[in-house]
Point group: C2
């Protein structure tokens, strides 16, 4: 019997949140890809529930997740209660989980099923591949003689299309919600059943340029590559039962994310979508975790307050592990992301967020290599950038786990401090990459002039500020001008262009960018339009009564619509908006500056308007 063979550019193994983000990016960039998953369906209930503000912002940049956000419970604060045998249970602390610097979205809690649906809907909207369910990766082989040729297909991935019987046997007892069930969502309808492919029971060999292994903590890909999963697990002495339920309670903070310490035990609530509450409470050991034991354990701790559980949606039992794969990629051809790369405790609600953001870092880079925009070597930056983040992630969770072992005796003071101080990190707002090809500082031969825009940090995502559209005065979140569409953005903070000498600086910048050797014309005659790779944005500070859009160099808006490219930070025509984008960014209102932003909205470079040549050099190193 011959094994059917096929080719594609990228295969994603595992359709959890991380794999779906990879597929979303590839779909958005129009790259041929397939995504497979062993399981018969997506997740519908439970699992990860914390969606951090930074992840919501990324979802927004793809135009997805609005429903998710509207229907979830927001977590704007957290409370701590403590008591003991002779001490009545009392609220001992409260802290805000959100403040404006963390971004426009507030932290929400919603079932992972909703997060996966948002990603799946996004993939569909961008004409990406459907997830091939009941398909398991079985063997992988890399032809090392071909790995240097970006457009070669060095990977041979063997996959097994499970029969319905195999699938039924292997599938967990995760039931698929039916109409009328609690939390059944009509929007899930396209995803309730595995679709017949006609390939059931067969083995297929896929030849691919790249493979992304997002197959979870027990990653088959990681094992197949021979990587180790280094770290340690705590044993049964620190496990917690987690239960999603509908309940009523007279506990005063039942609608706030709360942690409660009493008599050496710890438990907590998280308010959720649809009136659900997630409960976490200690259980004696893994075998002992039943909905009943979890509820009883909680009841004991919160007494004299009472809880009445009326419906159970999902439950599980979890311990603390800290493990990291010994490597995050092989030959820059096969990559690991998400739980396949790192696991830790669910305490801070960040695992899924970091998993999604791994592939958010990787997706556009692979797309640019496949589309012959960038050379192969840029893919090393994935290992560097997410390697650093992973280290920080594990260190953060270890410190937190010491303060607050799952289900155990936690330090209110230490836990509170750890969680509060950790917000810039856990929200992912303060994730910062070190110098490298895509970050012009430190290791890069080109160095940014960070002092020109202290509010925009090279290596971090550029924060949003409220500005106005020059064309119609409409207030505009500047962050919305950085959609995830695979384009670099040259942001010209043009300063006060009503001053003739400042306008001349902008004109000279435009002239340099227009030179044949500049990157904007790099792909001339190669079938790639510059507007597919770059976009120019202008944010100036002049009065709209002194400067018209037509006064700015037309080249900056070639092939595009200045209505959505020219913004102003000057509200002289009204009193009800603040003009503070420049001041929040720390940029001179007179002189402005030049900022280069990567397709994932991370800041790549900051310089003077005269530094276009630096920009050109910088881009040369990452473009073909």
């Amino acid at each position: 019997m011959t094994v059917p063979e096929s080719t594609t550019d990228v295969v994603v193994i595992g359709a959890g949140p991380s794999g779906l983000m990879a597929a979303l990016w590839l779909a958005r960039c129009g790259v041929k890809a397939r995504i497979i998953d062993t399981r018969a369906t997506k997740v519908f209930r439970g699992h990860a529930d914390g969606m951090q503000t930074g992840t919501l912002d990324i979802f927004d940049s793809f135009g997805i997740g609005e429903d998710l956000y509207e229907n979830a419970a927001q977590a704007v604060e957290m409370t701590f209660w403590a008591g003991g045998k002779d001490l009545p249970l009392k609220r001992v602390a409260r802290f805000p989980k959100w403040y404006p610097e963390l971004g426009q979205y507030r932290l929400i809690h919603t079932s992972q099923g909703n997060t996966e649906r948002a990603l799946l809907d996004g993939i569909k909207a961008f004409n990406g591949p459907e997830v091939e369910r009941g398909v398991t990766a079985a063997a992988i082989d890399i032809d090392e003689s071909k790995i240097g040729d970006a457009q070669a297909l060095p990977i041979k991935l063997t996959v097994r299309h499970l029969t319905e019987e195999e699938l039924a046997a292997s599938s967990k007892n995760d039931t698929v919600p039916q109409p009328g069930d609690f939390n059944y969502n009509p929007a899930d309808e396209p995803y309730l059943k595995r679709k017949a492919s006609g390939k059931e029971g067969t083995t297929e060999v896929i030849h691919a340029k790249f493979v992304i292994g997002t197959d979870g903590s027990r990653s088959w890909t990681r094992n197949a590559l021979g990587f180790e999963f280094l770290g340690d697990d705590t044993g049964d002495e620190s496990v917690a039962g987690i239960l999603d339920c509908v309940a009523t309670s007279n506990f005063p903070d039942f609608h706030i994310q709360t942690m409660i310490a009493k008599d050496g035990h710890g438990c907590g609530f998280v308010p959720r979508e649809n009136g659900l509450t997630r409960i976490a409470a200690p259980v004696a050991n893994r075998a002992d975790a039943t909905p009943e034991s979890i509820i009883n354990s909680l009841k004991e701790i919160i007494s004299p307050y009472e809880i009445n559980v009326t419906m159970i949606d999902w439950y599980g039992v979890f311990g603390t592990r800290h493990r990291v794969s010994s490597s995050s990629s092989k030959h820059s051809r096969v990559f690991l992301a998400g739980d396949a790369l790192h696991v830790h405790s669910p305490r801070a609600g960040i695992g899924m967020n970091f998993s999604i953001q791994d592939s958010y870092n990787l997706g556009w880079k692979i797309a640019h290599v496949v589309k012959e925009i960038s050379p192969l070597h840029i893919l090393k930056t994935y290992d560097e950038e997410r390697g650093l983040t992973t280290k920080q992630l594990i260190a953060f969770d270890k410190a937190l786990s010491e303060q607050a072992p799952l289900g155990g005796n936690f330090s209110v003071k230490g836990t509170r401090q750890g969680l509060q101080d950790g917000l810039p990190f856990t929200s992912t707002t303060a994730i910062e990459y070190e110098g490298g090809p895509f970050v012009a500082k430190g290791g890069n031969s080109i160095t940014s002039k960070q002092h020109l825009a202290p509010g925009i940090i090279v290596g971090r995502r550029i924060p949003s500020q409220t500005v106005e559209k020059h064309a119609n005065g409409e207030p505009h979140e500047f962050g919305k001008s950085f959609p995830s569409d695979g384009r670099y953005r040259i942001v010209i903070f043009a300063g006060d262009v009503s001053r003739p000498e400042q306008l001349r600086r902008v004109e000279r910048l435009s002239q340099v960018l227009e030179l044949p050797e500049a990157f904007l014309r790099r792909f001339d005659g190669q079938g790639i339009a510059p507007q597919d790779v770059f976009e120019t944005l202008v944010l100036h500070t002049a009065s709209r009564d002194e400067v018209e859009i037509a006064d700015l160099p037309a080249f900056l808006f070639k092939n595009a619509d200045p209505v959505n490219q020219v913004f102003v930070d000057n509200n002289d025509s009204r009193t009800w908006t603040l003009s503070e984008a420049y001041s929040k960014y720390g940029i001179s209102r007179d002189r402005g500056c030049l900022v280069l932003v990567r397709p994932d909205r991370y800041t790549m470079y900051i310089g003077e308007l005269e530094d276009a040549t630096e920009l050109i050099k910088l881009m040369s190193s990452v473009l073909i």
Copy 2:
């Protein structure tokens, strides 16, 4: 041949914006109603396009209009240009069309088709009646012997179900958009065709309690009642062609609502949804108005700037009329609303808004009479309240028309001033009803203590402020707590309930409200639950660490969920939100006050917490 007879509670004649709002209210309140319209379909293109912030707020209170808002063009400012034979065309003024005091929504411009669809979708969502299309009111008869009995059916309305042939003959040449057409909206699909009723070609007699005539400026109902339409029309000397189109232009403010004066002529643009632009330009006379003549007239005025029209969506020609019906109702059984009641110039973009708000005033009142919550006599307040508003509307539009005759030589200064100063009125934010049964001031024997809350004006809608939910600290727009669901709201501004004497005042208030003679128990044993007619809201100023919800009198939240009823204006637990609801309302943070709000969110009464007895008296006069 016998004429089929049928009965219903309310018939709405005419399914324009005003009639649809009436039907929406009745559907929301669960009142049996029918709505008929002569035409075969709804409006799809053109017509009224300005949706004022106050109307958007009303839509929001029914949970409708979100899409409409998202997809429309916002108008945050307006510009004026002037020039002449020897003077180059120049921007001469700019003013903001929105500021926070006007409400949370900004003014938008979108086709009346979208507004009608939002209303139709809302009626459907509340299980209201489908519009019976191709059905004309033909005769009306009121049995005066029955008008005193609220539950009698004194009206005999004869309607004619048109045959397809009759319908085709009478229908305007308004074409129905087809898939693929510009501005075709899949959401319109349920409304593309008249549905067969099986009654075509027959005449039907409907016996009803009430009839609402919202059949437009040529109102059949008005004529049938024998009312006159008093006022005047301007002739051909002041007509303007109005054209909705897709166009490009190098006119600098082409994306801003603009008026242009040159050589004794005036024209203007309004940016619209889907990249449309509405153009208004003078035409020689009605007969002369073609798309070409309108475009050419505009071209002349904006020269040397150019415009290139690539698609025409809709056009028409309009003059200025000022007419008001001699009466707004007959025997408090048949009512006129919208254009049937008043017409004026389209200049300020408010006719549809006032038309919708007429029936917004009327709908819940009729519902309360039908549901035996209120006596018949409350319906007089419709004539009083909307009569006053109509007078103000006509006066406003007359003054404006003098400054800016349609298509004519307008005074930039006067027009600008008139429009800018008029914003509180045109946005409908400042619409204020005089004292009467539903407004405890002036004519009412009970007088409000207006000074206790100068930021909430008796007779106006209570403005929204940002507060927090006590239960979870979530920031909350207080305005969202006043949905249009037919309920009165007793708003207890409880002040600083951490002070024992203040908490006692709230407790005493609760005790009075609990008395058997209080209105909350008025319907005991009559099949009407108090929570269907009243809701209690509490907004206090104490720290959430000093006061728990459970400390407040439980009676206030009987049959309800305090999570959505108790709010706090005290942000001591964080720094990023402002605590200014009390100060904006002008209420003492210590002592608070008591506010009664009508089902349409108009403020009915303001008093001290001790004034519950006044409240009881006031309510007695409007309840059965």
